[in-house]
């Protein structure tokens, strides 16, 4: 029986960082588990209150989802399916991801981005739930209500899925072949795709859509055909194919999606649209008669203090109306107004739009839900003066290829 060791820790903190890492992990995991449970319970709650008290819902106009709260969004969509009239329009209008117009070529276009030809037609949100499918335009108005082969999209016998199973697709309805071209996936089979990267959403869309037979031709329980859009890596070949290759639909410009971007409601610089005369009939905005006006026109929102704002968050101010004018024309804050850009043009400071020479034309047609965004104003401006051409895009791809080679060389020296 030797004496017992009585050494104590000397000049040492009592807890090891490894133990701390374990504990912090466990904390995070149990917090996440609690959240998941809580969400499951809330979901049940909402569905119940919906059934019991649908009227109450219509008095709740401020349903505004955040990208991060995927479950909440799902909830809200389920609720919103019950919304009627202007509330419904306002809600759906906010859900679509709106690409900015491409005014500069983004970095790493060839590695980080997808490109595809945008089908010409009406951008809409297609929701399948409770045995029916509804498509709504960007301004929230309903386009079609129809049966479809999407999960829970019709009342036909083979849809054994539960009430939670529903889909939300981001589509363009192409009139000539009466087809919904799916350009993005928001929700599939009850599972939110908001927090997934574009890369994953496209992958999932590709594998799931075909399974459902939604790509088949019209039948009793499937009124409109759905179709995938061919998506390419934005390298030289991909860009050329999207731009010049033949597609089963009429093109309206090119869409660029950042591969890692999540689905985000509203304007985002991680999805971009670009057009020229070769790939779009609508490069320049047209007026009510379908004519391209002599001067560029913009639609801006009137703020309470008379300033004129774009639809960006935060908005950009392009000018101001004086009080007399507002009173005389009986305009109100929140009105959308159409202006022509006069000889003064756009005033740029350090490449940023500071002011515009605005001439009031009147109100735009009532279907408009939003003012123009900064990027749209700028794109329309450059189209008229010094357009960003396909050659520029191709050049940027080949130059970043070179750059890449160069960096990998230095890596090897290290």
């Amino acid at each position: 029986m030797a004496p017992h060791d009585l050494r104590r820790p000397f000049k040492r903190p009592a807890i090891s960082d490894q133990q701390r890492r374990r504990e912090l992990s466990l904390q995070r995991q149990s917090q996440n588990r609690r959240d998941a449970q809580q969400q499951a319970r809330c979901l049940a709650d909402t569905v119940l209150s919906l059934q019991n008290d649908a009227a109450e819902l219509e008095t709740e106009p401020d349903i505004e989802p955040e990208g991060g709260e995927a479950r909440e969004v799902i909830n809200d969509v389920r609720q919103a399916a019950k919304l009627r009239g202007p509330e419904a329009r306002r809600w759906f209008a906010k859900q679509l991801m709106l690409p900015e117009w491409m005014i500069d070529v983004p970095h790493r276009l060839n590695t980080d981005w997808y490109v595809f030809a945008r089908p010409s037609g009406k951008r809409c949100f297609v929701v399948s739930s409770n045995g029916t499918t509804v498509s709504r335009l960007r301004n929230g108005t309903m386009l079609h209500r129809f049966p479809s082969a999407l999960p829970n999209g019709s009342r036909c016998g083979n849809s054994s899925r539960s009430g939670q199973s529903y889909c939300i697709l981001d589509c363009i309805f192409h009139e000539p072949d009466q087809t919904y071209y799916v350009i993005d996936l928001v929700c599939w089979g009850g599972m939110s795709m908001y927090e997934c990267t574009a890369e994953f959403r496209f992958f999932w869309l590709n594998s799931k859509l075909v399974e459902t037979e939604a790509c088949n031709g019209p039948s009793t329980y499937h009124k409109y055909r759905f179709s995938m859009v061919p998506v390419f890596n934005c390298d030289e070949d991909g860009l050329k194919t999207a731009y010049a290759g033949s597609m089963p639909y009429v093109k309206d410009g090119l869409l660029f999606y950042n591969k890692l971007a999540h689905y985000q409601s509203g304007n985002t610089p991680l999805a971009l649209i670009w057009k020229d005369d070769n790939c779009s009939q609508y490069v320049c905005d047209t007026d009510g008669k379908g004519q391209v006006p002599d001067q560029q026109q913009v639609v801006l929102e009137l703020l309470a203090d008379g300033r004129l704002a774009t639809s960006d968050e935060p908005p950009l101010i392009l000018g101001c109306l004086n009080e007399d004018f507002i009173q005389k024309t009986r305009l109100q804050a929140g009105n959308l107004l159409r202006f022509a850009i006069g000889e003064g043009g756009l005033i740029l400071v350090d490449g940023k739009l500071e002011k515009a020479d605005l001439h009031y034309l009147g109100k735009p047609n009532r279907g408009r839900a939003f003012a123009d965004s900064y990027s749209k104003v700028m794109f329309q401006h450059t189209v008229r003066h010094s357009p960003l051409k396909i050659e520029h895009l191709l050049a940027s791809i080949s130059s970043s290829n070179e750059e890449e080679n160069r960096t990998s060389d230095t890596d090897m020296v290290d």
């Binding site: 029986m1 004496p3 009585l6 000049k11 960082d17 490894q18 996440n32 588990r33 499951a40 049940a44």
Partner: protein, 871 residues
Amino acid sequence: MTMEVTQVLLSAQSVDSTLRKHAEETLKQFQEKNLPGFLFSLSGELASEEKPVESRKLAGLVLKNALDAKEQNRKYELVQRWLSLEASVKSQIKACLLQTLSSPVSDARSTASQVIAKVAGIELPHKQWPELIGSLLSNIHQAAFHVKQATLETLGYICEEVSPDVVDQDQVNKILTAVVQGMNADEGTTEVRLAATRALYNALGFAQANFSNDMERDYIMRVVCEATLSPEVKIRQAAFECLVSIGSTYYDKLSPYIQDIFNITSKAVREDQEPVALQAIEFWSSICDEEIDILEEYGGDFTADSDVPCYYFIKQALSALVPLLLETLLKQEEDQDQDEGAWNLAMAGGTCLGLVTRAVGDDIVPLVMPFIEENITKGDWRQREAATYAFGSILEGPSPDKLTPIVNVALSFMLTALTKDPNSHVKDTTAWTLGRIFEFLHDSTMVTPIITLTNCQQIITVLLQSMNDTPNVAEKACGALYFLAQGYEDVGSTSPLAPYFQEIVRSLLNVTHREDASESRLRTAAYETLNEVVRCSTDETAHLLLELVQVLMTELHKTVGAQKLSSDEREKQNELQGLLCGCLQVIIQKLGASESTKYAFMQFSDQIMNLFLQVFACRSATVHEEAMLAIGALAYAVGPNFAKYMPDFYKYLEMGLQNFEEYQVCAVTVGVVGDICRALEDMVLSFCDGIMTQLLKDLSSNQLHRSVKPPIFSCFGDIALAIGDNFEKYLMYSMPMLQSAAELSARPSGFDDEMLEYTNLLRNGILEAYSGIFQGFKNSPKTQLLIPYVPNILQFLDSIYMEKDMDDVVMKTAIGVLGDLADTLGSTAGSLIQQSLASKDFLNECLSSEDHLIKESAEWARMAINRAISV
């Protein structure tokens, strides 16, 4: 049936390895083919005076190893084998053992003592060998001192081996009497007295009743105190060990003796040899431990029903104890900072001073300050170091009000000393003291902060500069920076460290690359500090974290390339990979926690995952715990995108779940399964067959550490919540397991806190599983599959409610299960719910709980139940 084993046993100790291996093989075969003969031969060998001492000793050791093993399953097996031997064989072996206690050869006696204790450890709990204690006690009355000595040693070993409740009080009394008499200075030899004193150390745990009797206690205490004055140093040391043990075991009985003990211990600290002096200091350290525990438990708020009152022995002894400890601080050894095994008077005294400070708080400050002021500027490094150590020791315990003014004065002195003091020992202690200042007095929420915009830059400059100092000083500087960063944990959106972030990170990375970074655990300290700096960083520096990710990935990449490593190199590689994965884990968790930074991080996820997979591939049979933790954080950050990694990752996940030996790895992997379930939701389905199989195997194994079982149950819940009614096919396997675990945990066995804590963890895991399963089946047409389990689940809830021993976490989860059950099954379960106690008394109790989480769950349950029974 015996065999001539002498030659084999001698060969087994040969220098010739062929001979040795052959002998070991022979012994092994003998043991396997004929266990009784084997054991009997060994005991005969040990008992025989004709045999050489070497073979006798080894015979005893082999015998001992045939009775006991460290590993639990092996131990159980050996015990069963012994118990199933024929009684006659056992009694012959035992006779040989007892006979050996009288051998003139001391090695033989001492080996026999240990073997007897092992046999006693097996047999006494089974009420076998009742005559053992009696025959040992009769040995004591023999004249031969060497027999007395061996017998006392045996009694000591037995007390160490068996638990007090298997020996009845009458025998305990006799053992104690024999032992205490053996310690008596008037009798016997030094060897006898030493053996008796050491035996008492082990027997103290048996003396509960005797310590409650004033006379018996007085007697034992007197003998122990006398033994501390023995002329023999080993006896004094052993006697002080007894005092230390009495101090913690019988704290509440010490009052009458504390003054004497103080006199004895202070004399020993000042005058006796180091091993004795160290035990004397340890006595006071352990009294501090007791009082700190008591004060923490009751928060200084004593009522009549407190279990153990605080006697404030330290407070009473303070004015004499502090000078005694301060003296020891001056007795440093030259190189103690470089020697990991060092333990000397200065270290023990300093440690004790820190404990005293925690026990008394503010009162210590005026007693120590004069010593610091007098010595801190002296020419002799010992005085400067002792003063600095004293200062570092009194920082934990006193109120910030008391310390802040002093620290404000001392801080710039310390910073200067850390850069300018010529002595490395002083610098080491100075850096450590700075760390203690930041640990206990620096916090972004303090009203009068000690770190201000004015001195922040200087502090950082000095610490970063010290990272180039000797490894032990650099390690302490890292530690100081760790706590400096930690103080800004709740700083909000702007951190005063942000401007220096890049420089700090660069310096820490430089430290990790130092040639001598493996000394004084410097590399580890640097990475740990980096982790804390990352954890406490703000969004301002998120972009720099992205750069750091790339640096760490490059480093990790370098480690996975190496091939054909020696075992030493492999260990180093493993350690470095652990540190790098740990740091990446912290960063992933940090960046993954907010939407904006998560997005930016995603560009690296493919590469990082690929690296983690390569780290796994570096090992053949096990997965790396740190890499596994990091992958959990990654799954949380990337969400459903994690699906694409699953095909490659799955085999390692399975490997982790199969790792019974390193149960931490298994536990961590179970947690990662939960992360993956939440990330992939129903996409995890295709992997579930494999995962569930493995989890069920884990639960059925008695090899797996029990702490992993509760998280496995919780994991069932995670899986069910993710895959919904697809969990159907696992119900028939998982439900019976949950049910039998529930039955077991409804009535905990034993009363100790540890068991109760485990029982509550187990209950919580089971309940989380039920919650997940019910919620997973919500709105499914298959809910009726759950109906058969409802009565048992409700019964489980009722019985844990009746036991009245669940903690708040279990309460919250339990009432939540009731809600989930009602919510998913609705009116189908309405009448069953109404019959349960849980839906009435338990629910009401939860509804009126002060814990808002319990209340919230209860509100949910009430709503769901109302709905279920109203339809």
